[in-house]
């Protein structure tokens, strides 16, 4: 695999191969010396156009534990603020010959676009509201640890589906692994046509009991300003996962950072059902596996970028 742009690039065997390798790397994270020489001499560039603490540091840790050199390039305080285009930035950074570029932007498809401009492997760390494939991989990894298999499991994704790249990547990844996915949230924050992805759509939590896994999404404050929902209070009343709604055998997930008292009550964040810190921990080993996959995994030569076959209109 040359790039990881979308979870759609991976079939079930591909996901399992990456997660098996992540499980092997997990042992490294528990050592005193948390480092293996797998990517020694390779350069990984973190190019982040959006504020991110956990994803960026998770990728940085992953690369360093594989002995790669890491350069962080944040959009603020850089040439980007002076008006440089994405393409010019990428061309400039490519002159430093990075082996992989980890990119996050606020725009759908940006990672795919960048892949056509550079010889480096591209890992999509979030492109707008489109996809966040490594989040989906670490979530599947966490659920494999917790439940063994996702086959036949019922997973509810609850919250602002319209603005969530995590939701989109996870709907695809969970289904690829054999789970049944239901998305639930305010009708104003449910994208029209989302059921075409194969998931069920609900607008209330009345049947939440059927879920084996409850995956709550972050409710961003600016959505309140845009009047997608009448108030934070009403959102919490209708959609908050709290002790009353969460069953004792359900698994609770959240991509972080949590708004306590909005999408999750404080009690469930601290409950034994919550696997939120497991997800964070999984993030490092899964990203180690992804970096290894694109930089040292089975690769036979580099194909020319963007091969375009003319097709009849």
């Amino acid at each position: 695999m040359r790039h990881l742009l979308s979870i759609e690039d991976l079939d079930r065997a591909g996901i399992e191969r990456i997660l098996d390798r992540a499980a092997a790397f997990a042992e490294v994270s528990d050592r005193d010396i948390k480092k293996v020489p797998a990517l020694r001499g390779r350069t990984v560039l973190n190019l982040f156009y959006e504020a991110s603490t956990r994803t960026r540091s998770s990728f940085e840790l992953a690369a360093k534990r594989l002995s790669a050199d890491v350069v962080n390039f944040a959009a603020s305080g850089s040439s980007v603020e002076k008006g440089e285009s994405l393409k010019d930035t990428v061309l400039t950074l490519t002159a430093h010959s990075p082996d992989a570029i980890v990119i996050r932007t606020p725009y759908a498809g940006a990672a795919g676009l960048v892949a056509g401009w550079t010889t480096a492997s591209i890992i999509n760390a979030g492109d707008g509201k489109h996809e966040h494939p490594t989040q989906a991989l670490l979530d599947v990894y966490t659920l494999r640890q917790k439940l063994g298999s996702l086959e036949g499991r019922c997973i509810w994704i609850v919250g602002d589906v319209a603005h969530s790249r995590v939701a989109r990547s996870n709907i695809l990844a969970f289904q690829t692994m054999g789970a049944d996915v239901t998305v639930c949230g305010p009708p104003t924050l449910m994208p029209r046509g989302i059921e075409a992805l194969g998931c069920s759509v609900r607008y209330d939590l009345d049947d939440l009991r059927e879920a084996d896994v409850v995956y709550a999404l972050r409710m961003q404050h600016e959505r309140m300003d845009q009047a997608f929902v009448p108030s934070q209070r009403e959102y919490a009343a209708q959609y908050q996962i709290n002790g009353r709604r969460l069953g004792p055998r359900q698994v609770l997930m959240h991509p972080g950072p949590v708004n306590r008292g909005v999408e999750l009550s404080g009690e469930v964040v601290d409950s034994p059902q919550a696997v939120i810190t497991m997800q964070v921990k999984a993030g490092v080993v899964v990203r180690m596996a992804v970096l290894y996959e694109v930089l040292a995994g089975a690769r036979d030569g580099r194909p020319a970028p963007r091969p375009a076959e003319p097709q009849l209109a």
């Binding site: 932007t105 498809g109 795919g112 707008g128 029209r192 989302i194 075409a196 003319p310 097709q311």
Partner: protein, 459 residues
């Protein structure tokens, strides 16, 4: 209901102008081409003689002798049509000449087989006053290879509040009025424009979109936008305003032309309005007739346009609209943008695709070759766009000014990433293999384009 007295049909106080730079009148004889003109009923192999820029004679195949000084064009195996007209292009002049200007835009038109264009006013500054319009006519007389007309804005500054000085603009030769790129959102302003039309004439060409429904949308709202996580522009953003403006035009007995229809609900609304006698015409673009939101899956910014590529059912409704006559003409909405403006992530990219150089081949390949539409119907719709403006409808008949396009329907070519006559390269069809190539274009009596490989011999 009492209606206001309409301006008598066909009577316009002021005439629209089409302007181009002076060119040598053509003298050529096309031998043995398949001549197809849906209006005059020509559909067979004929010779066509053009002298002094006029169609001088139409004769049986390979019978007309070439008079001295007349170029002989071998038409064998080729088709000769009336040249195309486009009521909706963006030539980006004044102010955005890095995208296109009158010279490059009309060169692209000539290469696509066009003999007349109407340029939109959303330039910098916008065309909303007599001095700007006058300067454009002067520039066209210098630079335009193909005749160009101009539509100034309906509202001052294209801001949707006060009407432009429409009578003065019409007296200068404005082809009509449009706020293209934006709707006239305020229904009261739209109504006033329709009332004022009784004084100054000129069709109101309308971009139909409710910005409160489009929001920050960047593509058609549907399953594909849900998958891509890109905010959607719903079909009702267009169709609700189409219905509103048809109602207003009916109430004020005004004449409107609806630009680039994209949604099946809009086609239905226009059909209903036409059935109750509203004076409404409408256009569809080659990209909406041949592509859908599925073609946006790759998030190629060249496929971002407004209105967006919609669903398969919408596309089929547009094609059916051409067949049934609800849709009157095909217009490209040729919208050039510089390469660096389009080589950005999809959501950041400006709206629009170029279209003049690929329109005929795209329609021929996607609709005529598979048998969906008859060639004659496509030619009719490519040549009728200036009819609603009371302007040129090209015909192949003796005594007519020569507006002709010679095409090879079998020639295949691939739309390139570059190499256009247009200054811009943002073509949504880049990479497609097309069948059908324009070889020669005659506009307003002058040869304005020749494919390099065409065989010509002096008699």
């Amino acid at each position: 209901m009492t209606s206001p007295a309409p301006t008598p049909a066909g009577v316009e106080r002021w005439q629209a102008r089409l302007v181009s730079s002076p060119a040598r009148p053509a003298a050529l004889l096309v031998h043995g081409a398949h001549v197809l003109d849906p209006r005059t009923g020509l559909d067979g192999i004929h010779d066509v003689l053009v002298r002094d820029g006029e169609i001088a004679e139409i004769g049986a195949a390979n019978t007309l002798p070439a008079p001295p000084g007349v170029e002989l064009v071998d038409g064998a195996g080729r088709h000769l049509f009336p040249a195309f007209v486009d009521p909706h292009v963006h030539l980006r002049t004044p102010g955005q000449e890095h995208k296109e200007d009158l010279e490059t835009g009309t060169r692209a038109a000539a290469a696509g087989g066009y003999c007349a264009l109407i340029a939109m006013p959303n330039t910098v500054p916008v065309v909303d006053s007599a001095p700007v319009l006058r300067a454009l006519f002067d520039a066209a007389a210098r630079d335009a290879r193909v005749p160009v007309g101009f539509m100034p804005c309906i509202t001052r500054g294209q801001a949707g509040r006060e009407l432009t000085e429409m009578a003065e603009l019409r007296a200068l030769g404005a082809a009509g009025f449009t706020d293209d790129g934006r709707a006239v959102v305020d229904a009261g302003v739209m109504r006033r424009a329709l009332q004022y039309q009784r004084l100054c004439g000129g069709v109101l060409a309308l971009h139909e979109e409710d910005p409160s429904l489009s929001g920050a949308g960047a593509m058609h709202e549907g399953a594909v936008s849900a998958l891509l996580g890109v905010a959607g522009i719903p079909s009702v953003s267009e169709s609700t305003i189409v219905a509103r403006d048809c109602a207003l035009a009916g109430y004020e007995a005004g004449r409107i032309h609806l630009q680039h229809l994209s949604a099946r609900e809009s086609v239905a609304a226009v059909a209903a309005a036409k059935a109750r006698g509203v004076q409404v015409t409408c256009e569809a673009s080659p990209h909406h007739l041949t592509m859908t939101d599925e073609d946006v899956r790759s998030l190629d910014p060249r496929r971002k346009m407004n209105p967006p590529l919609r669903s398969g059912a919408d596309r089929e409704a547009l094609v059916e609209g051409l067949r049934s006559g609800v849709i009157d003409c095909i217009a490209t909405d040729h919208a050039p943008h510089a390469r660096d403006e389009k080589e950005v992530p999809f959501e950041q990219a400006p709206m629009g695709t170029t279209g003049l150089e690929s329109a005929f081949a795209v329609l021929h390949t996607a609709l005529v070759v598979p048998g969906t539409l008859k060639l004659a119907l496509v030619i009719e719709k490519l040549t009728s766009g200036l009819g609603p403006l009371g302007l040129l409808v090209p015909q192949i008949a003796v005594g007519e000014r020569a507006n002709l396009v010679l095409a090879d329907l079998d020639a295949e070519w691939v739309v390139g990433d570059s190499g256009y006559e247009s200054r811009s390269e943002n073509c949504a069809f880049a990479g497609r293999r097309l069948q059908g190539k324009v070889l020669l274009t005659v506009a307003a009596g002058a040869v304005v384009f020749r494919e390099r490989t065409i065989m010509l011999s002096a008699a």
